[in-house]
Subunit: 204 residues, 2 copies
DNA sequence: TCCAACATGTAAACGGTTACATGATTAC
DNA sequence: GTAATCATGTAACCGTTTACATGTTGGA
């Protein structure tokens, strides 16, 4: 039972949030915790399964083996009262705002060391990915709204946070798309003058 | 010299980007790589100093000890041609877009498990931080623009990427502030009805 | 005299990623 | 049979964080 002021990781709390809505197997969690629109955390299964065993060892969750209709047996986990209490405490507790590290911006920052064509390709690729992501986010939010209405009046309180998260990601995606377009136009404008007087040369 | 296909970490490339502009000491880098507006990466000194020694061991950078005008001697690092070549290759190379993990959104997602007052306090605190951050970003960009003009026509090409990064962070900050305000109004609207019929109770 | 800023590190723990590994069931 | 999906794990590595550790210079 190893009781020495153990605390679940952020992933552990993310898992408990999902289990608070409904019991899930490790495999279910692995799918919900894949990098995807609509949930702000993700992890590999090699991290999920051990974390589940730890949560169970501390009685935050409980499992039972169930036969699956379409495959091998599944171990299904359910949130227990101590887990829900810990989750509520964590949610209400102090919040550390770790700033984001962005590899994209790290590349843009030194865009003068790279041919314009490469930067434009990068911006173009990122635009395509973000557009697709935005499309999916809008789809998800649209469906939720159709079923439950806007967050102010949604009958199911559990829906409010989910909708706000989607709205957040949608707003960020739109803002980023505008910036990508702006950056494209800046780089293109400079590339035009660069043709006459090339500013970037390889190191030697 | 340990030559077995070694590659600098992302931090290593961030350091080389900074050194590409000007030679810096570990202490300078520690300040530049603190979580701060205007640069998209950060690290602790316990990571910076070893990384510097590794970069030097592979001849990507070179150091020399210099007396400091206001303190102990400083070891100043300068980017070497192999380092600049590696940096350019990395900047132009394939780009993995790792999605962001957001502890803020993780809390909002289950906002129904927390009293409205706590969520409102969280939103308020985050708003204050973001406003201050936005103010600083705008200040930095304003200064850069005053000296160099807009990125399309800035004389110093090294300025373009920096300005675009600042514009990105400014756009994201504004978008997030709008969302924070929107979320506040949603939570307040629901808190008003919640008074009559409380939806959140502690687990037992 | 003491504090703040300058300056540079080491050691241990932790979280996360990558690679490896196994086996059941269903549909083609 | 064989591929895809279901289902669950282990081991090694690596980057990051936290804590510990040391010494200098200049100003209050």
């Amino acid at each position: 039972m190893m009781n020495q002021r153990w605390e679940p990781t952020t992933l552990g709390h993310a898992i408990m949030q999902l289990l608070q809505r409904a019991p899930l197997s490790g495999y279910d969690l692995k799918k919900r915790l894949a990098p995807s629109p609509g949930f702000a955390w993700y992890a590999q299964d090699s991290q999920i399964y051990p974390q589940l065993r730890q949560l169970e060892a501390h009685a935050y969750i409980a499992s039972e083996v169930q036969p699956s209709a379409i495959g091998p047996d599944r171990r299904v986990y359910a949130l227990q009262p101590p887990g829900e209490a810990a989750l509520r405490a964590w949610l209400a507790g102090p919040f550390e705002d770790t700033p984001a590290k962005s590899e994209l911006l790290l590349r843009i920052w030194s865009l003068d060391l790279v041919p314009s064509a490469v930067t434009l390709a990068l911006l173009h690729a990122k635009t395509a990915v973000t557009q697709e992501r935005l499309r999916q986010l809008e789809l998800l939010l649209g469906r939720l709204r159709m079923r439950q209405g806007p967050p102010e009046t949604a009958a199911d309180a559990r829906n409010v946070g989910v909708q706000l998260c989607l709205e957040h990601d949608i707003a960020q995606a739109r803002s980023q798309l505008a910036w990508l377009e702006r950056s494209r136009s800046v780089v293109e404008a400079r590339a035009a003058t660069e043709d006459a007087e090339p500013a970037t040369s390889a190191a030697g």
